[in-house]
């Protein structure tokens, strides 16, 4: 609250600054003295509707923040619209948010193609497109798209972590890689090469791809085995990752196996592959697994569980999408806190790009969020974990991509 006395005390300079802030506030759509209105698109219907939980967690988190008095005295209203994971619909809904609802910016819209479809529009109109919920590296390109930022470690970052790990622990490794033939797979191969470094790129002795329409990847595994590789990077979605793990085991190929963030689910990858066959598989993680008993007394996990109990339904507790929304929204809240009274779009973007050592409750101990004018990848650190037949066992230090 700005009183007359405080104005007098802080003098004319502050008064001028205040007037400036007032003027700027009037110019920023969606921002009033009592409210910050923001928007997002989410696949509540359609093929990717399982991710809709992220949107629900985002909404629930802002409800919690508003119950606690909002941010710097303002309530946050998130308008979350369904786009059915269809890019033309995303464009329409995003324009509705910007032009009809008058939102200040876009937050945590989901999907690679949907986010790509509106990226140009938002950048042309200088509207922040913050924390796109996708692992594609194309949302970490501040030079070409200074108004667009991702959130989670992108595929290139993660593959880079694997590359560095291989270079350090198995310098003479011969690497084989299986990738899905799309942006995810391509990002992975690029990241792996970056991580290995130019002098080791030649150590990738075999690379195979598959189409999501193929029934199995058996033939690719046999080909890759033939290369004599002793490291096997599996950049595949859950079904194919399970097949790759099982087939490699069945043909008697025993390389160091690395699987991506996309396919580390025990229920949909390790169990279908066979838990014995999957023993020893290595992955990289950045979040606390809500099913892991180790975190039961962890204050971060407790805060998360409390949030779920009060603002979501009990079944959401073990849903990694709820963890995701919880983390992304907490990051958003931090950005808005840093903005203080200056909620212009320029300042929101500037603050999003100046997060320093920000720690989330549900990321692994030691992981912090850092961004800068040329680093638009908020989470860059991960820790390796190995599958022991029952769960993921963390090992080694935090690695950065």
């Amino acid at each position: 609250m700005i009183t007359r006395r405080s104005l007098l005390r802080s003098g004319a300079a502050a008064a001028a600054a205040l007037a400036g802030a007032r003027a700027a506030r009037a110019e920023t759509p969606g921002v009033s003295d009592t409210e910050i209105r923001i928007g997002q698109t989410m696949p509540y219907s359609g093929p990717a509707s399982a991710y809709g939980v992220i949107g629900k967690a985002d909404l629930a988190y802002f409800t919690m923040i508003n119950d606690m008095g909002g941010i710097n005295g303002r309530r946050v209203t998130l308008i979350s619209l369904d786009d059915g994971y269809s890019p033309p619909k995303t464009v329409e809904q995003t324009r509705r948010l910007v032009e009809q609802e008058g939102v200040a910016f876009l937050f945590n819209s989901l999907g690679t193609a949907p986010c790509a479809a509106v990226r140009q529009y938002l950048n042309d109109n200088r509207i922040p497109q913050l924390f796109c919920a996708t692992g594609a590296s194309l949302f970490a390109d501040p030079k070409s798209f200074p108004w667009t930022m991702g959130w989670q470690p992108n595929y290139r970052t993660e593959a880079g972590i694997f590359g560095k790990y291989i270079a350090r622990t198995k310098p003479d490794a011969k690497v084989a890689i299986l990738t899905q033939n799309d942006g995810f797979g391509k990002d992975y191969l690029i990241g792996l090469k970056d991580g290995l470094g130019p002098e080791r790129v030649g150590q990738i002795v075999a690379a195979a791809t598959y189409e999501t329409s193929e029934p199995t990847v058996d033939s690719q595994i046999v080909t890759l085995q033939g290369s004599g590789a002793d490291v096997f990077v599996i950049a595949a979605t859950p079904k194919f990752a399970a097949q790759a793990i099982r087939k490699a085991y069945d043909v008697g190929w025993t390389p160091l196996r690395l699987v991506t963030d996309v396919s580390q689910s025990i229920a949909s990858v390790m169990k279908p592959a066979g838990v014995d066959k999957a023993k020893g598989v290595v992955t990289a993680v950045y979040g606390k697994d809500p099913t892991d008993a180790r975190w039961a007394d962890d204050p971060g996990f407790k805060a998360y569980a409390e949030f779920i109990a009060k603002y979501m339904s009990p079944k959401d507790l073990i849903d990694s999408n709820a963890v995701y929304g919880f983390g992304a929204t907490a990051t958003m809240v931090q950005v808005l806190r840093q903005c203080g009274g200056d909620l212009t779009r320029e300042n929101v973007m500037r603050q999003a790009a100046s997060l320093k050592d920000f720690v989330l409750p549900m990321t692994l101990p030691g992981i912090s969020i850092n961004t800068s004018a040329d680093n638009f990848t908020p989470i860059r650190q991960e820790q390796l974990a190995t599958f022991d037949g029952q769960g993921w066992r963390l090992f080694g230090e935090l690695l950065a991509g």
Partner: protein, 325 residues
């Protein structure tokens, strides 16, 4: 008392005048939505020629829509073809694709054809993401287009300009479809739907007529796809999922089978009712947030119960009562 013909002409003129005035009265976002409605109306006109007038059910028109969209995207973004040329070129490709697909489709009747075209709709997104076409289609990352600006320093925004391109295309294609239906070929199409044996006895070449009908129908879908790509500024495999093909079928049934004017209503329905369902389900509280599909289903059933002949059928019934008698 004006006759039904005159009433019809007045109504058509009024709709057109409203359509021309609309972009100057509405906001940019609504103009963009208007363009989407026109695009959908064009696709529905095409599908109605095939399904409504010729009795061939297609669940795969999203695939032709996709070919049109990617055609326009590749021609303008990768080959530098002017967009006004890219739209007809892309739709000619669609005509060829539809005509060729029409040959094997001839062997299937009714529901079997529906299944064959369904396969087309299922396959399209995967084929578009196939790595063999990567250099052209951009794989799953899609292709971005530059939105066309109004030429000759016309005082129109990009949205208004695109709207008028869509409006002129829709009007031309509507007139073309009307003339086609009223012509000898049109009568042959309807005869093949109602009495195939009698039609063939009268000398109608069933195979040629049906394949040409398939081709023309695909051409309409192609024009729609190409215009949609220009308006959205982006194409990707996800843009052309199975739901798109199904929504076309919903559109022609709600608008009215074998009614060209119904296409506009069908387009309005599939453009706005899903969002309406989303909003309505939001009103039932957070718990119903995931139920827009169910609300949409109820609205669809209500629409069909109130207007069994589609919107066109309902209008006809009202006309009969007030003007006709």
């Amino acid at each position: 008392m004006p006759g039904p013909r005159l009433t019809r002409a007045i109504a058509t003129l009024a709709v057109f005048a409203l359509a021309v005035a609309f972009p100057f009265l509405a906001s940019g976002y609504h103009v963009y939505q208007g363009a989407q409605v026109l695009v959908l109306a064009i696709a529905l006109l095409g599908l109605n020629l095939l399904t409504g007038f010729n009795g061939q059910i297609s669940l795969g028109h999203g695939a032709f829509f996709a070919i049109g969209g990617y055609g326009a995207a590749i021609l303008t973004a990768k080959l530098g073809v002017p967009y006004l040329l890219a739209v007809p070129l892309a739709s000619l490709v669609c005509f060829a694709a539809g005509f060729l697909f029409g040959f094997p489709a001839l062997r299937f009747g009714g529901l079997y054809l529906a299944l064959a075209t369904f396969a087309l709709a299922v396959a399209a997104p995967q084929i578009l993401a196939w790595k063999g076409f990567d250099a052209w289609t951009g794989g799953s990352s899609g292709v971005s287009l530059v939105k066309p600006h109004a030429p000759f320093a016309l005082p129109l925004t990009t949205d208004q300009w695109l709207y008028f391109i869509c409006l002129v295309s829709a009007a031309l294609l509507y007139v073309a479809a009307r003339n086609l239906v009223a012509s000898r070929i049109g009568r042959a199409l309807i005869a093949l739907r109602d009495q195939p044996i009698a039609a063939e006895t009268m000398g109608v070449n069933a195979a040629l007529t049906k394949t040409i009908c398939f081709g023309i129908s695909a051409l309409y879908a192609g024009v729609a796809g190409a215009l949609s790509a220009l308006a959205v500024g982006f194409v990707s495999p996800e843009s052309f999922g199975l739901a798109l093909s199904l929504s076309f079928l919903v559109g022609i049934v709600v608008g009215g089978l074998a009614s060209l004017g119904g296409a506009l209503f069908g387009a309005l329905f599939i453009e706005f009712v899903p969002s309406l369902a989303d909003q309505m389900s939001g009103n039932f509280g957070e718990g119903a947030k995931a139920l827009p599909g169910a609300v949409y289903g109820v609205l669809l059933i209500v629409a069909m119960a109130v207007m069994p002949g589609g919107a066109a059928g309902a209008v006809r019934a009202i006309m009969r009562r007030t003007v006709g008698s």
